[in-house]
């Protein structure tokens, strides 16, 4: 039986490595690439190359950036005494879309996960602690306190990651908060699961 041409096999293999793309989908994608105009296929090829060659981590907050420092860290109008800690760049985007936050960020590049063998040294926790310590040191007496806002995912691993950072900052002159947790706006109590409801119950607020 004659084999598929080698470049096609290679392309199918490469597509199949992508998350959520099985063998059959990879074949479909490869045949699609074969079918479309050469310019269209090369546009995808070039976009992949460009993103790897031109996008780096911001030297301050580890957000993705085309320059040494990301647009948020470069924006002098933002409050640099507030640092919102997120797991990944996508979380930062989601928070920015709300438009309610005007401080800076710190992207951990993941979360602590013993099962995936991700320890503190695999995340950007050390640079975060240094950032906070530097901020505290540079404070003048009438500056507001430095605030760290934990926005890791409300999961066991996200909570553990936030807890680890809180421990490291124990005794330091820094205010630490985390995103409120409860029933989501627009949700139905009837259909909200037990864990979310107990969270909402435990975090209930006095109506004044």
């Amino acid at each position: 039986m004659p084999e598929l041409a080698q470049p096609i096999v290679r392309l199918i293999d490469e597509f199949a490595k992508l998350p959520g793309i099985g063998r059959k989908s990879a074949e479909r994608l490869a045949y699609y690439v074969l079918r479309v105009k050469t310019e269209e296929a090369l546009a995808l090829s070039d976009a992949i190359r460009a993103v790897k060659l031109n996008v780096h981590q911001c030297k301050n907050c580890y957000n993705l950036s085309e320059e040494d420092y990301c647009p948020i860290c470069q924006d002098k109008s933002r409050n640099e005494r507030q640092i919102c800690v997120v797991e990944q760049p996508q979380d930062l985007i989601a928070l920015e879309k709300t438009g309610v936050y005007h401080g800076l960020y710190h992207v951990l590049q993941g979360r602590l996960s013993p099962l995936d063998k991700t320890g503190p040294e695999d995340l950007t926790i050390a640079p975060l602690i240094q950032r906070v310590e530097r901020l505290i040191k540079q404070s003048s007496p009438n500056d507001p306190e430095v605030e760290l806002i934990m926005a890791t995912n409300p999961t066991v691993e996200g909570d553990a990651t936030a807890g680890h950072i809180v421990n490291l900052l124990n005794g330091k002159k820094v205010k630490i908060s985390r995103l409120a947790r409860g029933i989501a706006l627009g949700a139905m109590v009837e259909f909200t699961n037990r864990e979310v409801l107990s969270d909402a119950f435990n975090e209930r607020r006095i109506v004044e």
Copy 2:
């Protein structure tokens, strides 16, 4: 709100053009590319480029090939007086996997589809007719008859495409067959749908 870095937006746009990849999947793929090692990402980029630059259509049967003529057309041991007509290269691969056929192929590059505005001129029907006429002309008197085996999909469009080709060859000295149609091996009559069952009924064979 600061925008996503331009190369990332471009990559998401390109991924989103792929079939079956929605906006959200495209974002996930783009962040995956950002996360993996540069070599891995460039391997995908290069594989796309290589397939477009090195894989062409066979000049005889329009199968995909790295050379002017595909391995099947180059194989002198195959019966060149049998031509199996398929819609796309994937169909050829599926048929080759069975190992029962030892003739050549002709890849139509699609099927007649008025809804998608695909007419006979968009397919490789004209070169197929020429191939058949050339074969008939070159025949010596004791050669077996040229055979065209229609293996288009058993759908309205596939059948129409095969019918169109059969009409064009009307009166020519060529035997035309098509793949048998009926209940699939291993299927249950109880759960086979009406159309398939009537097909199987109409095409019933005398047991000798």
